[in-house]
Symmetry: C2
Subunit: 357 residues, 2 copies
């Protein structure tokens, strides 16, 4: 079988620009005891190492006589982790792994380690929603933009059931696919809905990067284009108590900018490890004097989450203090760990169980 | 602005495993005259070159004093092309390009060159369908498998309109995302439906790799799991004249295997540059004695497409001769070019205008 695959591979690409083809490798290979073996093929590389968010330090990989480099690590705590190889100083994703970190600045791969019990983001045999990939017309940005829309199991766009909507924003340099490809937002929602812990909802994942325009144009795009597009095309409840906004990192800052200045639109604001050193945040909040009582009344949930090892931890604590000082009721969710998508999954799972109840 | 982005980038990843961060680069940069500049950042690389299906030979890239390597090529004929960089012997995708070739054996990037007139796969301001990412339970393969389902503009799952269905299979080592991410099947369908040239239809894109099981198990999976799943969950017309099957390369071989042995199910069979040196094909067709008159009556379209520079061209011609000799009515679509996704887009555009009429 292996020989046959290899022959196919050579045949298929013999008239393309690629002369050398690697053998088909099953990488990464997760063993039942949660140890993981990583493979990479190169006859010419002088050194190959593995970097991943499950490792403290890079692990050197060892070449066998057929040119296959490998290393076994772990046991690795069950979770989903980004990783990459460094081949003679060049950082690359794993050529044999189709699970790619959706990002516009780097290419990494995703390791998915399951344990004896399913995790909140595990693919399980429960009813599954689906993710719509579609386009909307952004008048603000004068272009067609892609948006991903999760609809829950049993969703019927023409049915009588109307749904609440969570708007969910990715981190800096991520894309509209990162919340599903790395954050598994769809599977987290499937699992929590199946367990009766989350209300069936629509989750809208826009693309938050509006460069070279100013970040404030994303706020306008959400309010003037994304929300109206969703409300024109999906059966949704059109009041603030049925709209939530959440985001991570740069998207966590955008969440605060969009959510706290539009509490007539969003009654739930959940910010994960927010990056707030932006012009827009400064403009909105540096001399902000909100009517705290009114805001607390409008907001059904205002939460900020962060890991204690996050490089933004001190900044986030300062923002928590700032919002508290201004009289806002604020729920914090502080966990171990850094500025990672492992934590994002926990933050989202927490939010999904608190909104639209 | 650039400085600000750079600071964010450093901040965002200062507690991750990455120490060195590249500047944000707009790569590839397509100029109005269809020349294209490619960028890559490395202070340590000794040589960087560009390989792409729009080039005859690799183009060396030149480093500037800030560590940014670049090369300008073209004008490039408007189309979508795979490309990659070779950095000191290591093949990598473009870190700054989010358009990734969905594949389980290599990582490449996608160059999208538009011209003065929109192409059949161009994103245009026409009504857009959407792509559902969802899971089905494959009893045959004993696992949940992902499938992509394009639904046309105005699609209503609970409405009175029932749709015909095209089952569309990727090539060897591709994934269920390749027909949309590289082949732009959704945009081709959007454009042809908007122009009144294609009947609104559902397009189902399964994952064709069933290794380590035998390829024949994919045939079973399509017939016993995929088709029933679609027919249970979408408003579709359940007769052979409303079912088509098409595929490229290994998927083109699978199309012949599945389609020609199941003409009660599929009345349209469209095979693109089929790879047929497989056990399943041999078993099905090496001593095949079909009732040609009956088959020709059942098949509303049987077509085989290939490029004259395709490395499978001779093999495809032999298969065309074989099927013709057995009395089958067969429409061929022979074009210039090789075993490429540039040609796949043309083949699909042709098929979409011929089926369900």
């Amino acid at each position: 079988m292996k020989k046959y695959l290899y022959i196919i591979a050579i045949l298929l690409f013999s008239n393309t620009v690629v002369a050398q083809r690697a053998p088909s490798l099953n990488s990464p290979e997760v063993k039942p005891d949660q140890r993981v073996t990583f493979y990479y093929y190169s006859r010419t590389a002088k050194s190959v190492s593995l970097n991943g968010e499950f490792l403290k330090n890079a692990e050197p990989m060892i070449k066998d006589t057929s040119g296959v480099w490998s290393v076994t690590v772990g046991p690795v705590k069950p979770d989903i982790y980004p990783y990459f190889y460094t081949v003679d100083n060049v950082q690359i994703s794993d050529p044999n792994n189709t699970h790619v970190f959706a990002n516009e600045r780097f290419k990494r791969s995703i390791l998915d380690v399951s344990g004896p019990l399913p995790l909140v983001h595990s693919l399980q045999n429960v009813p599954h929603g689906k993710i719509d990939y579609r386009y909307y017309n952004s008048v603000t940005l004068d272009t067609l933009r892609r948006v991903l829309v999760y609809t829950p199991p049993g969703f019927n766009p023409a049915g009588k059931i109307k749904y609440p909507v969570l708007y969910l924003i990715h981190g800096g340099s991520d894309t509209e696919e990162t919340w599903t490809k790395v954050g598994r937002a769809n599977l987290i929602a499937d699992n929590l809905i199946a367990a009766g812990k989350a209300t069936p909802m629509i989750i809208v994942m826009p693309y938050g990067n509006v460069r070279p325009k100013e970040m404030a144009d994303f706020t306008k795009d959400v309010l003037n284009n994304v929300v109206p597009f969703i409300e024109a095309n999906y059966p949704v409840i059109k009041d603030s108590k049925s709209r939530a906004i959440a985001g991570f990192s740069v998207g966590g800052g955008q969440t605060l900018n969009i959510g706290l200045t539009n509490t007539d639109i969003f009654a739930y604001v959940a910010s994960y490890a927010p990056y707030t050193a932006t012009e827009e945040f400064k403009k909105n909040f540096s001399s902000w004097s909100p009517d705290a009582k009114l805001l607390n009344n409008k907001l059904k949930l205002f939460t900020i989450s962060v890991g204690t090892d996050d490089f933004l931890y001190e900044s986030v604590k300062q923002n928590i203090a700032m919002f508290t000082e201004k009289g806002l009721l604020l729920k914090t969710y502080i966990v171990p760990g850094g500025h990672s998508w492992m934590n994002c999954k926990l933050f989202l799972a927490s939010t999904l169980q608190e909104i639209f109840k």
